[in-house]
Symmetry: C2
Subunit: 338 residues, 2 copies
DNA sequence: TTGAAAGCGCTACCAC
DNA sequence: GTGGTAGCGCTTTCAA
C-alpha cells in the first residue's frame, strides 16, 4: 500500500485544515502568512506520517505530471543510443522529472499510437530524437506540444533542436593531422555523398581546414559506414598500390575496418598510417592502438535538450550546436618527413 | 489542447448519461444490457469527437496507470543494455503499457528517490534489472510492489527472476568445438574466478561438456573481460610459446583482444586458431572474420520478464532461464588432424 | 436498461 | 491566517 497517507491525514494530525497543510507543504506558507507554530505542526505531522503527495491526483488538477517522454526511432540497433538515453535520464532526474522512453521503430502507425498514449497520461513535454542526424517530420499529435528535437531538425514547426557541431568536428579532425605535420597523403574513408547530414558536414569541415592550410585530401576511399565494407574497400585500395600517410574515417566502425585491412597486410597504426575518426564510441578505446576520435557528445546533447524543455526562460536560440570533444589517443603520430 | 473531450461531452452528444456512455466505451455494454441503438449512438459520438479517456483521471479512481518502470543500475556504459531496454519497450507496448526508464547509477540514495517518484505516480509494476548477472538487494520501496527481476536474483523476497541459461550456453560453446573435431589444445581466455555469475556458469558448462567427451581444457589464460587485457595476456601467452588449437573467450570483448594479439603476430582466425565466444554483441559481426558467439538473449529476457509482470496468471515457476542462441560464424573451422 | 450522485486526493477560490 | 467548498474526469454503487 503505497501513498496511503493523504493530505487530509496530515491536516488532522496537525490539527488544522487541508488548505493550511497544503500551503505549508507546497512552500507557500510565507506568502499565505501561516503562523510559524502551525507551520511546524504540519511539517512534523507530514514527516511522522511519511506523507507523499499523490502526483496523479495533483496532476488531475494542475495538468502537470512532471514527466517527459523520449521518443526515438530506434534505440537498440545503435550502441550509441545509450548516451542519449543516459543524458536525458540524468537531466530529467535533475529536474525532478521522470522519463518515459518510446521506440517508434520507424513505424508511423506505432508512433501515432504511442504519442496518443503519452498524451492520455498528460506527459508535460517531449524529446523527439533520431539516432542519426536528419530532418524529421513530427507526428501530428506532437504539433501542439512542448517539444525539443534531439539530433534532428524539422521545418514544420518552430521548436528548438540540438545537434552536434559536425562542421567544427570535421575541422578539428583535419587540424589534428595538420598539427602533427600531415599535409600530403591524407585520405578520407567513408561515404560522404550519403543522405546523412553528419557525413556531409564532417567532410565539409575537413576540406575547409585543409584548404585554409593550402592543402587538400589526397582522395576518398568509398565505403559504407560499417567495418566490413571499410575492411574490403580500404583493403582493395591498399592492394591496388594505394598509399596513405594518414586516414580520416567517417566513424569508428569504418576505422575498425581500416585497422583490420592494415594489420592483415602487416601495416601498423600509427607507424605506417595515422588514423583519426569520429564518434568516440566504445570501439575507439578497444582498438589497438586506441583510436583518436572526435566524439559525438550524446549525453551533453540530451542534457541541453532537456534544459531547453524544462528550463525557465524560453530559449532565444532555436538551434543549439554542441561541440564535439576531441579524444586524442595513440593512433596519430607525426608525419615521417616535412 | 489534448484530451479536451470528456466522457460528459460524449454522453451529451449521444443524448444519454455518463454512466451509459462509460459502459459502452469500456466494452461492458453486453454485461449491462445497453440497448444496441444507444450503444451505436455512443460509439458514434465518441468517434466524432475523437474521445480519448483521460488516463490520469481514470487512474485516480482505479489506481492503475498502465505504466511500468524499468529500474537499472547503469545503461550507458554497456552497449548491451540496448537489448534489455528494447525488449522491455516492445513488450510493454504490446501490453498497452508505457515504460518509465530509470538509472540508479549504483547510488542507493538516488535509487530510493527514484523509487519514491515512481510510486508517487502509481506505476503498476517494476522491472528491476542489472547489466550483469548478479545477486541484488531490492530497495525498501519495492518490497511491497509487483516486481520481476531481470538478469539478477535476490534472496530477500519471493519474486520471479529471468536470467540467461549460462550453464547451457557454456555447454554449447564447448560442443561447437567438439563437433568440429577439436579435442586437445582448447584454451579458455578470461577470468572465470570472478565474482560474476556468468563467468562461473559458462566455465562450468564448458568443463562439463568437455569432461563428458573424455577431454578437458588445455588451460586458462587469465585476463579481465576487456580487449586490452586480453590482447596483452593472450599476446604474452603466445610469445611464451603457448599454442592453442581453439580458444573459448568469456565474452566478445575478450575475443577482440585475442584477434588483435593473433593478427599482430601474423596468425589467423580460424586458420591457426578457432575462436568461440559469448554475448554476440555488435563486435561479433564486426570482427574479421565474424565471430561465432553464444548470444545473450537480452530482448527475449526482457520480453519474458514483462510477460511475468503483466501476464494473466501468476507464474508457477519463479526462475526463468532463457536459452542463449548459438550464432555460428566463420571463426571456427575443423581441427587440423584427428 | 438508464441516470443521479458520491468520491479518488489534490488545488484553489472565497468567505470568515 | 484559516477553513469550507467546488471541482479536475473518471468509475461505480444504488435507485428508478
Amino acid at each position: 500500500m503505497p501513498s496511503r497517507v493523504t493530505l487530509q491525514d496530515v491536516a488532522v494530525r496537525a490539527d488544522t485544515s487541508r488548505t493550511t497543510a497544503h500551503y505549508v507543504l507546497t512552500g507557500r506558507d510565507r506568502e499565505m502568512r501561516i503562523a510559524e507554530e502551525t507551520r511546524r505542526r504540519v511539517l512534523r505531522a507530514a514527516n511522522e506520517l511519511r506523507y507523499r503527495p499523490d502526483l496523479m491526483a495533483r496532476g488531475l488538477r494542475t495538468r502537470v505530471t512532471r514527466t517527459i517522454a523520449l521518443i526515438t526511432d530506434t534505440i537498440a540497433t545503435e550502441a550509441y543510443a545509450g548516451g542519449l538515453v543516459h543524458g536525458a535520464l540524468a537531466a530529467a532526474a535533475g529536474h525532478g522529472h521522470l522519463l518515459f522512453v518510446c521506440e517508434t521503430e520507424e513505424d508511423p502507425a506505432l508512433e501515432e499510437r504511442l504519442v496518443g498514449e503519452l498524451a492520455d497520461r498528460h506527459v508535460d513535454a517531449y524529446l523527439y530524437a533520431s539516432m542519426f542526424t536528419r530532418d524529421v517530420s513530427l507526428p501530428a499529435g506532437l504539433r501542439t506540444q512542448r517539444v525539443a528535437l534531439l539530433n534532428c531538425r524539422t521545418s514544420q514547426r518552430k521548436c528548438p533542436w540540438v545537434v552536434p557541431d559536425e562542421r567544427r568536428g570535421g575541422r578539428d579532425a583535419a587540424r589534428i593531422l595538420l598539427e602533427t605535420g600531415h599535409r600530403e597523403g591524407i585520405w578520407l574513408v567513408g561515404e560522404p555523398n550519403e543522405q546523412v547530414v553528419a557525413g556531409l558536414e564532417r567532410t565539409a569541415g575537413i576540406q575547409e581546414t585543409l584548404r585554409a592550410a593550402g592543402t587538400a585530401l589526397a582522395g576518398t576511399v568509398h565505403c559504407t559506414w560499417w567495418p566490413e565494407s571499410a575492411y574490403e574497400e580500404f583493403g582493395a585500395f591498399l592492394d591496388g598500390g594505394g598509399r596513405a600517410s594518414a586516414v580520416i574515417c567517417l566513424n569508428d566502425r569504418v576505422a575498425m575496418g581500416v585497422y583490420q585491412a592494415l594489420t592483415a597486410r602487416g601495416l601498423s597504426v600509427p607507424g605506417d598510417v595515422s588514423v583519426v575518426s569520429f564518434d568516440d564510441s566504445d570501439l575507439a578505446v578497444w582498438l589497438q592502438p586506441p583510436l583518436t576520435s572526435v566524439a559525438l557528445p550524446h549525453r551533453e546533447m540530451a542534457a541541453r535538450a532537456v534544459r531547453l524543455l524544462l528550463g525557465r526562460q524560453t530559449p532565444t536560440e532555436l538551434e543549439v550546436r554542441v561541440p564535439m570533444p576531441v579524444r586524442l589517443r595513440e593512433s596519430v603520430r607525426p608525419a615521417a618527413s616535412a
